[in-house]
């Protein structure tokens, strides 16, 4: 009997559902009479209860009443629903854009400096800074560039007075740090530098450099290569190749110009690398003994290397930016891309 009751329930619910879907008041009434009416099926079951054994009776009775309750509830609900005019409930349109308080960004150059700093910091380099308005001594003499030396031609400089200028390179910080601090030294010095270059897509009279310096007993050219390799492969990707070629800077010797395999064409040659497959990214070299002498270090005891890179150049490479002026216009359509 229990089985029969359950099947009846199943059938009744289906009929209720169908009546509701068809929104048919007629079918709904038919349902009520058929199952819940005084002479309906459930009443019929109830009337049969006395014929059951006393053990069976309470359980079946309970079940009948439960089903009756359930069907009555369903019926009332369906009836109410049929009486209400049909409306579509408000739907959440999940395809609408999300709502977020607007967020800003750090400047792409700051992000670039941050990324580079992070890499060197993991190799134990400490971040330091120095003045942008500098004494000529720190920009030139102490860096082995005496007055009237022709290599001054390589460093056009803004002057404030005879011996005060806007630094044209961050190498000034090397000297300031070594004057104050004893070896061993590992520093990285990001900052602004200034050169009277006419502004165009490639040149700016103000730009950013990152200077690096490591001084320790026994540090050699191989370490310079090692540190820069680690940097390049961390920053530009593990496949990055690097090569060094001789160059000249008054404050380092041997001096090197450092190139990496083109980040765009992977060394096959493209317009970014001028078809060569290589891109110059920094200048470096072993600290010149005269620089050590200028800060009172014994060049026989200590060796060291220094390197300097242009932040704009690296950011332009990394992000594919083709005009340096964009960095200083501060158009939020540009700033929001990084």
């Amino acid at each position: 009997m229990k089985q029969a009751l359950l099947e009846l329930r199943e059938k009744a619910l289906q009929e209720l559902k169908s009546a509701l879907e068809k929104r048919s008041a007629e079918e709904l009434e038919h349902f009520r009479v058929k199952y819940l009416g005084r002479k309906g099926l459930l009443s019929e079951y109830l009337s049969k209860l006395p014929t059951l054994s006393p053990e069976e009776r309470p359980a079946i009775g309970k079940l009948v009443n439960e089903i009756k309750g359930e069907l009555t509830g369903g019926f009332e609900e369906a009836k109410a629903s049929l009486e209400r005019p049909k409306v579509v409930a408000p739907l959440t349109d999940i395809s609408l854009p999300g709502c977020l308080p607007s967020i800003g960004r750090s400047h792409p150059l700051v992000q670039t400096i941050q990324d580079i700093k992070d890499i060197f910091a993991r190799m134990g380099f400490q971040v330091v800074s120095g003045p942008e308005v500098e004494l000529e001594y720190f920009n030139f003499e102490s860096l082995n560039i005496p007055p009237d030396h022709p290599s001054r031609d390589d460093f056009d400089t803004f002057y404030i007075s005879d011996d005060v200028l806007l630094r044209s390179q961050t190498s000034t910080v090397q000297i300031r740090v070594m004057q104050k601090q004893k070896a061993p030294i590992r520093i990285i010095a990001p900052g602004k530098v200034f050169r009277p270059d006419t502004v165009d897509a490639r040149h700016s009279f103000m730009f950013h450099q990152i200077e690096g310096l490591m001084v320790e007993e026994g540090v050699n050219f191989g370490h310079l290569k090692g540190v820069l390799h680690i940097f390049a492969q961390t920053y530009f990707g593990p496949d990055t190749r690097m090569r060094f070629r001789p160059s000249f800077f008054p404050f380092t010797e041997p001096s090197a110009e450092v190139e990496i395999s083109c980040t765009l064409c992977k060394g096959h040659g493209c317009s970014v690398c001028g078809g060569s497959g290589w891109i110059e990214i920094l200048g470096a070299g072993m600290v010149h003994p005269n620089v050590f002498k200028a800060v009172g270090y014994d060049p026989e005891q200590y060796t060291g290397f220094a390197f300097g890179m242009g932040v704009e150049r690296i950011a332009m490479l990394k992000y594919g930016i083709d005009d340096i002026r964009l960095f200083f216009e501060n158009d939020v359509r540009f700033l929001s891309q990084f």
Partner: protein, 684 residues
């Protein structure tokens, strides 16, 4: 960096190197002479553009580059013939060098009876290929030899020289010379000149005089080849704005021996192409060149390079570069430096030469570093935290130029007002000031964004301003944080400027709180013509100026042609770094709940929140934990000249739950105080 042009065939004359053009370019580049360009000439040759660093004046001639190629490829060097015939006549001119210090060597050869004419085609083509204009055979030959030996030469018309005399001396005040290019130079004793008996006839090392130049009718010539002190030539060239092929080379130092060799080479070519007869003698005044000897310690070389090069390898490299190993003592080589390598004066220069030829890329890369750890500095930590917060609050970071024009707005900032530092040699007239505020540039950036279709922006810059200090050479470089704030355009609601003012104030308070700065902040009115007087103020932290903020004044909005009114702030970032407390300390969470009571009062317009707050605090209530402002209202139900202020008070006891009656009674006391002291009326 100097771009030296040579041609492939020309180079090949002096060194038979057996490399293709491409290989040649690669070889030179890898040795530090970057071949930046290569193009074909109409006659089937190739022009190479080579970047020569300023320490290698010897490579500003084809022979110098041929020497490098010979060393790099182990090919023999073939120098051009220097021998020439001589006639019976002698040199009649006397040469006196009065300033041997400024002119260490002066040679002169005389050629009688030359025929000035045009040069043969091959010579003209070579000169044109390397960017020189053919003039006449004698002048062309001096230029050709210049490009060959990197030794500047000058030919005088002998018959135009007065008194058969050449004097190398300082110019006298009042003397003048017109140079070949027509420049008229007023001379003084700082200028070294070549003079005849009567007047200066050339600016030493820079350019000859017009009066004595070789011309069509010239018959006899005096050929000068000399070495001048670099600094002297540099100053003369600079003084008269005459940067020439000659001055560039003299400034970097020419080859003491090359002076004579180039003179002989030029004489031979002149006889060949312009005829005439060389005097049987020649003049050579000055120091004898002594080969410089530099010691090179092999262990030192290997320490610097991280290599383990042996004596043979080092000796081989130096030999190929024409250095002479004079002596070997244990680990030490005594190395004779060839005359054309004036750049090599000490051991480290030899180390570089060895490394250069050995190949930087053959030096083993070493990534084993000792461990060294440095903590981040306060500066970095504070910068990172502030940048993170500002980005979160919707600000984009700007970077603007430190060099600005001087204008009214440059006085807007927290520290501006004094005379700015000025640049002597600005790129643009008027744009010569080192900024004293970041705000002018932020306003410009706002304008640019407005023009580019972004009507509202939130920008900040974290950079230096430069504040001159009386009696000090260097200014104070103060890092400031500049803010330009506007609520974004929203379809729903537009915030008024007044709210923007409070938002910016909130941002400053938020920064202080995030940096753990607990000192006493005092907000005060500020007189700043660039800020709206009703919505601007200044903050002091423990008495020191911390920030200025306010809505841009109408004048500014007009001056920058802004279509909306931004709120500006400038904050002393160095002070934030100094006062920041980035440590966090745990405080036990309260065990017992707080009870809140809201109070709304109507007070006169003149009553400030600061007064209300201090009045509440001054009531001496034991369990007062926090006072929270939440509403300011004017309008219906509030009489004119009054305002309604609502706030919430939190009471809490550390050791028990407060009873309602206690909170109510405290609220009553506060209301009493407010009524008594501030004339407040409670709104129920």
């Amino acid at each position: 960096m100097f771009i030296m042009k040579i041609t492939y065939n020309w180079l090949k004359e002096y060194c038979d190197f057996g490399l293709t053009r491409k290989e040649l370019a690669e070889t030179l580049t890898s040795a530090g002479m970057v071949v930046a360009g290569m193009r074909a000439t109409p006659d089937g040759d190739y022009i190479l553009e080579i970047e020569i660093t300023s320490n290698r004046p010897d490579c500003l001639g084809v022979i110098g580059i041929a020497r490098e190629v010979a060393a790099l490829t182990r090919s023999p060097l073939k120098l051009p013939p220097l021998e020439h015939a001589t006639g019976k006549k002698t040199v009649e001119v006397k040469v006196a060098v009065e300033e041997p210090e400024l002119c260490p060597r002066y040679t002169a050869r005389v050629i009688y009876g030359v025929k000035i004419g045009t040069s043969p085609l091959w010579l003209q083509e070579r000169l044109e290929a390397v960017g020189l204009r053919p003039i006449n055979n004698v002048v062309d030959i001096t230029n050709y030899v210049l490009m060959e030996w990197s030794q500047p030469l000058h030919a005088f018309d002998l018959d135009k020289l007065t008194g058969e005399e050449i004097i190398v001396r300082r110019a006298m005040a009042g003397e003048r010379i017109e140079t070949i290019d027509g420049t008229k130079c007023d001379l003084n004793p700082e200028v070294l000149v070549i003079a005849d008996a009567a007047r200066p006839v050339a600016l030493a090392g820079v350019m000859g005089g017009k009066d004595t130049e070789v011309h069509e009718g010239t018959c006899n010539i005096l050929l000068e080849s000399a070495k001048f002190k670099p600094a002297t030539v540099r100053r003369t060239a600079k003084r008269f704005g005459l940067k020439t092929e000659s001055s560039y080379r003299f400034e970097r130092g020419v080859d003491m021996e090359g002076v004579e060799l180039a003179s002989r080479r030029a004489t031979a070519l002149i006889l060949q192409l312009a005829g005439g007869e060389a005097a049987k003698d020649s003049i050579d005044v000055g120091m004898k060149w002594n080969k410089k000897v530099v010691s090179l310690r092999l262990p030192r070389l290997n320490v610097i390079l991280g290599t383990s090069l042996k004596e043979e390898a080092v000796g081989d490299i130096l030999g190929r570069l024409a250095f002479e190993i004079k002596e070997k003592k244990e680990d030490r080589l005594e190395v004779g430096v060839p005359s054309f390598r004036g750049d090599v004066t000490e051991e480290i220069d030899l180390v570089e030469e060895v490394a250069r030829i050995y190949g930087y890329n053959n030096i083993p890369t070493n990534t084993s570093l000792s461990i060294q750890v440095n903590p981040k500095s306060r500066q970095e930590l504070v910068e990172e935290r502030v940048r993170g917060l500002l980005a979160g609050w919707g600000f984009f970071e700007a970077i603007t130029y430190s060099i600005v024009e001087s204008n009214e707005v440059s006085r807007i900032g927290l520290f501006s007002g004094g005379e700015p530092l000025r640049i002597r040699n600005p790129l643009r007239v008027g744009e010569d000031c080192l900024r004293q505020t970041l705000l002018g540039n932020l306003l410009k950036a706002k304008r640019l964004n407005q023009d580019h279709g972004t009507p509202r922006v939130k920008l900040y810059e974290l950079s230096k301003v430069y504040l001159p200090v009386e009696g000090q050479k260097l200014p104070i470089e103060k890092t400031c944080l500049g803010l330009l704030y506007e609520e974004g355009l929203s379809l729903v609601k537009e915030q008024t400027a007044k709210e923007a003012f409070y938002t910016v104030k909130g941002i400053i308070e938020g920064l202080l709180s995030a940096l753990g700065i607990k000192g006493n902040i005092h907000w005060e009115a500020v007189e700043n013509p660039f800020l709206d007087s009703a919505h601007s103020c200044k903050a002091r932290l423990e008495g020191e100026p911390l920030a200025i903020l306010g809505e841009a004044a109408e004048g500014i909005v007009r001056a920058y042609d802004l279509r909306s009114v931004p709120c500006l702030a400038e904050i002393d970032f160095d002070l934030l770094v100094e006062k920041a407390d980035l440590t966090s300390t745990f405080r036990k969470l309260p065990l017992y709940p707080a009870i809140d009571r809201d109070i709304a009062i109507v007070v006169d317009e003149g009553v400030t929140w600061a007064q209300i707050e201090s009045c509440v605090r001054g009531a001496g209530l034991e369990f007062l934990e926090k006072i929270e402002f939440f509403d300011l209202y004017r309008g219906k139900q509030v009489p004119p000249g009054k305002k309604s202020i609502a706030f919430r008070i939190h009471f809490r006891a550390p050791d028990r739950t407060l009873r309602k009656e206690e909170a109510d009674s405290a609220r009553g006391i506060i209301i009493n105080e407010l009524t008594k002291k501030l004339g407040a009326v409670v709104r129920q």
